[in-house]
């Protein structure tokens, strides 16, 4: 099978890897790099559990070939903590009780981060749209939406 050599930056760390031509970014992260936070939920691009950031954009890693992200900057939830400090999104997900089983959480938080990095003060509607590809079967989206709005407030320096 064809192998491709790629250089990607994952959570700030440069990785030089030989990957299969048909290998998904999700598999590369999980199988090669041991970054297990991005999850398999469907493999079809329909649940969002595998969402990571590629160049700051929320991306479904199950539909993305690793070979196609050569030279790109990848962020996963494993890279969000700064030292022992949680990212405001993580903090507010914990505090607002926005997590139940947690399986959708890494993907949902990454979708939210992509939004907040571009729009510091999104409306609730925008937040709902930003995570509309992230299926959650447990929370009913109520608390995650609140948590994202709260994180945005915090990131803007309000309270």
């Amino acid at each position: 099978m064809a192998r491709v050599n790629i250089k990607i930056k994952v959570n700030g760390k440069l990785q030089e890897l030989g990957v299969e031509a048909h290998e998904t970014l999700l598999d590369t992260l999980r199988e090669r790099l041991g970054l297990l936070a991005a999850k398999y939920g469907c493999g079809d691009g329909e649940c969002g559990a595998c969402t990571v950031l590629v160049e700051g954009n929320a991306t479904l890693s199950c539909l993305t070939l690793a070979a196609h992200v050569d030279g790109k900057d990848i962020e996963t939830i494993e890279g969000l903590e700064q030292g022992s400090h949680l990212h405001p999104l993580q903090e507010s997900f914990v505090e607002q009780g926005a997590i139940q089983c947690g399986y959708c959480t890494p993907g949902m938080i990454m979708s939210a981060k992509a939004l907040l990095d571009k729009d510091a003060d999104p409306s609730e509607e925008k937040v709902r749209r930003a995570i509309s590809n992230n299926l959650c079967r447990c929370t009913g989206y109520e608390k995650p939406v609140k948590a994202i709005l709260e994180a945005a407030r915090r990131m803007r320096g309000e309270k």
């Binding site: 999980r30 970054l35 297990l36 936070a37 991005a38 999850k39 398999y40 939920g41 469907c42 493999g43 079809d44 329909e46 649940c47 559990a49 996963t76 939830i77 494993e78 969000l80 903590e81 949680l86 993580q90 997900f93 914990v94 505090e95 607002q96 009780g97 997590i99 139940q100 089983c101 947690g102 399986y103 959708c104 959480t105 890494p106 938080i109 709902r128 749209r129 995570i131 509309s132 590809n133 992230n134 299926l135 959650c136 079967r137 447990c138 929370t139 009913g140 989206y141 109520e142 608390k143 995650p144 939406v145």
Partner: protein, 757 residues
């Protein structure tokens, strides 16, 4: 009720939130063992067939293939805890033959060095099937004498119960109405697909299984029984679980037992993880019901008689079925004070993937029929639907006829009042807007749902509380947390009882080797059943602490108490010692003692208290497209006592949203035995954009048998959502939707044939 609690009633954050929010939480699919093989199943392409011959020779010679186990070696597990109850039943639990009964029924499993090789090996296997005639419709299946899905016939179970004298009840009625309701096969659609495990069968006879099961201890018994091992040799380890809702309530068809056999043969650990498609096509779903109701009532709005007839589609194998129909019975007979009731139920096999436990366990189906019927009764009488409920519901102090037990707590009235107030029921002019293209309507429904399974199933709970030398506490419980947060709730209960900071308590992982017997996480039971055990164990530990403290402080034991980790004399608070100091003394410093304080409790909860609730929905229907938009939901629930209000709000929002799916979009479409919508594009579960404002109302009626007054909540939250939405749709456009899901097309068809009076 009273709020003198230090941590019960507080929304403390979940104990597992940090792991989950940083991506550290490990789910079954994330685990790897040294030397692990990967397994895949060969599944039947036919809905009903006999496997005549299997040629695995080519697959066997594949260099990466390490083991193959076939349908002839690996039994199917059926009957679950009904069979668990007796020795004879246990034997019947393991079904072995060479017949496949639905499209996707496993024929064999292959374990190989990697998934691709396992997949490749599957394509090298030749199977000769003798096709058998299938039957898909449960009503046909009941009647059909020629097609036998199982040897003993197609009716897995029949129940007939009569309360009072049904004919007398109809004679006493001023009106009698008859309606027929149909419900769909909903899928759990947990975001971690159902079906992932690793079995590690050591040649020494010790078997370890990593599985996201809701029932660690029962799974251990099932596996031990199937493999002829002592239970003590089987260890079930449950990692984090990506949602369950009943979908992991037992062994998964074709999963754990297959992995055990493969691992035994290969002498290496074997992992198998189903794909999303396999989850949709071949794991359990919610039983579709056909419900026929005939209801008699007086012109004053008093229900006199109810005849309930249910045909329930079990699918190809009966796992959970008696309990599911029993829950329909419980709600159908128990919720309203109807003197004359006849309940008849048939659980029928069909050649479709199996159905099993799912949040509500037979109740959402029955509730949809019953609460739609109540709306029709109210309409007929020109009575407010809430008033009709208030006139007929069975409240505290009355006897539940199914369990023959007195109801000790019932906050249904408060749920109705507070919920109605929240949605401004009185202000919403019902039926007034039946004009124009977009029409609005409101609807409501009631429900009850027993907590746990005490009246019918083995329902144990246990806990061990260990106080450590530094005053910290280890809580050992097998209560499986699938995401609900029950472990956090149990920590709060232990902390409250012990009088210490909840952060000082750490809960064990769910592992049958280190935690005592537990009936599993189902039936909304962990806060109640698990909570009772934890509270007892904590009380026992506290008592032992006070015995030592009394000697040490030289003061009578009955004057001592613990608060914020300090043991003190209630009459003279200055006389005190911290728990940590005392523990260090008795565990380490006093060489004549060296004791650890241990509190332990095990047993069954004293009751099965119903949780009550009321759902309210406001919808908007587009009469041109048939599209429904849910504008607002209010869920009001009597939880006895909210141990952690944020968790309960989370359950309510999650349940209501799952209920929106059940109402409007969700149901497997099965044509000639084939699932036509086995992905999230075709099987639509609600997304963040589809969700209206949801208000959670928590009512606390204080259940005297519950820990600090608590009873269950998880399931109740979705039971009546579909009925409330259906009733709201009727209010908006005047068509009575009697079949779930209420799709756009169905509404359009109904509107076209609708002639407003």
């Amino acid at each position: 009720m009273k709020n003198e609690f230090s941590v019960v009633g507080k929304s403390v954050p979940r104990i597992d939130a940090y792991d989950k929010v940083t991506g550290r939480a490990r789910y079954c699919r994330d685990l790897k063992l040294e030397g692990m093989l990967h397994a895949k199943l060969l599944r039947s392409p036919y809905p009903h067939a006999r496997v005549k011959a299997l040629d695995v020779s080519r697959a066997k010679s594949h260099p990466a293939v390490k083991a193959i186990a076939t349908i002839e070696e690996v039994p199917k597990v059926v009957g679950y805890w009904w069979n668990l109850r007796t020795e004879k039943g246990m034997k019947k639990m393991f079904m072995q033959d060479n017949v496949v009964r639905f499209v996707g029924d496993p024929v064999l499993g292959v374990a190989a060095e990697d998934e691709d090789s396992a997949e490749e090996a599957l394509s090298m296997i030749l199977v000769q099937y003798e096709q058998l005639p299938p039957v898909f419709d449960p009503v046909e299946s009941m009647k059909d004498q020629t097609i036998k899905i199982h040897e003993r016939g197609n009716i897995a179970f029949h129940v007939l119960k009569e309360y009072g004298d049904i004919e007398k009840g109809f004679r006493e009625a001023d009106f009698v109405i008859e309606n027929r309701f149909v419900t769909s096969k909903q899928k759990h659609a947990t975001i971690e697909p159902i079906g992932s495990c690793i079995a590690d069968y050591s040649p020494s006879g010790k078997l370890s299984v990593y599985s996201s099961t809701q029932l660690p201890h029962w799974s251990r018994m099932y596996l031990a029984g199937a493999l002829g091992l002592p239970s003590s040799n089987v260890r079930i380890i449950k990692p984090y679980t990506g949602g369950a809702f009943g979908g992991r309530c037992g062994l998964i068809h074709g999963l754990e037992l297959m992995c055990c056999h493969l691992s035994k043969k290969a002498g290496r650990p074997v992992k198998m993880s189903f794909t999303r498609k396999e989850d949709f096509e071949a794991t359990e779903g919610r039983h579709p019901f056909l419900v026929e109701l005939r209801t008699g009532f007086t012109k004053e709005g008093i229900l006199t008689a109810n005849s309930i007839k249910i045909v329930m589609d079990v699918g190809a194998y009966a796992t959970h079925y008696i309990g599911v129909i029993a829950d329909a019975l419980s709600t159908g007979v128990g919720l309203y004070r109807i003197p004359h009731v006849k309940f008849e139920g048939y659980c029928v096999y069909t050649n479709k993937s199996l159905n099993g436990a799912f949040r509500g366990y037979g109740n959402p189906q029955m509730n949809f029929a019953q609460e739609s019927q109540m709306d029709i009764v109210a309409e007929k009488l020109g009575m407010d639907p809430i008033e009709l409920r208030l006139k007929n519901y069975r409240g505290a102090g009355e006897i539940d006829p199914v369990f023959n037990e007195k109801i000790l707590s019932c906050g249904l009235k408060e749920c109705l009042f507070q919920g109605a107030e929240k949605i401004r029921w009185k202000k919403k002019s019902r039926r007034s807007s039946r004009r124009g293209k977009i029409r609005k309507g409101v609807g409501m429904s009631c429900l009850m749902h027993g907590t746990g399974a005490r009246f019918g199933l083995p329902d144990p709970a246990s806990a061990i509380v260990l106080i450590n030398a530094d005053g910290s506490v280890s809580l050992e419980t097998a209560a499986a947390d699938d995401g609900q947060g029950n472990k956090t709730g149990l920590v709060q209960i232990a902390a409250e009882e012990l009088g210490i900071d909840w952060r000082k308590i750490s809960v064990s992982d769910t592992d049958t080797d280190t935690t005592p017997l537990d009936g599993g996480t189902h039936g909304s039971r962990q806060t109640y059943c698990g909570g009772i055990a934890v509270r007892k164990a904590a009380a026992q530990a506290k008592k032992s602490v006070l015995v030592f403290a009394s000697k040490h402080l030289n003061t009578p034991q009955n004057r001592l108490d613990i608060r914020e980790g300090v043991i003190y004399d209630t009459k003279r608070p200055s006389l005190n010692i911290s728990l940590a100091d005392l523990m260090r003394k008795i565990q380490i410093e006093d060489l004549s003692l060296c004791e650890q304080i241990i509190g332990a409790a095990t047993g069954v909860a004293p009751s099965m208290p119903p949780t009550y609730g009321a759902h309210f929905a406001e919808v908007e229907v587009d009469t041109e497209t048939g599209g429904v938009r849910v504008l607002r939901l209010v869920g009001a629930f009597d939880v006895g006592k909210a141990i952690n209000p944020a968790h309960i709000e989370g359950q309510i929002a999650g349940g209501e949203v799952m209920g929106i799916g059940y109402a409007l979009t969700e149901g497997l479409v099965i044509e000639n035995g084939k699932v036509m919508n086995s992905n999230f594009a075709d099987y639509r579960i609600p997304r963040s954009c589809d969700i209206p404002r949801i208000d959670a109302v928590i009512v606390e009626s204080h259940e005297p048998t519950g820990p600090f007054g608590a009873k269950g909540i998880g399931e109740a939250t979705m039971i009546g959502t579909a009925s409330a939405i259906a009733n709201a749709i009727y209010d908006a456009v005047g068509v009575r939707m009697k079949e779930l899901p209420i799709t756009q097309e169905k509404i359009l068809v109904a509107l076209q044939s609708f002639n407003p009076p």
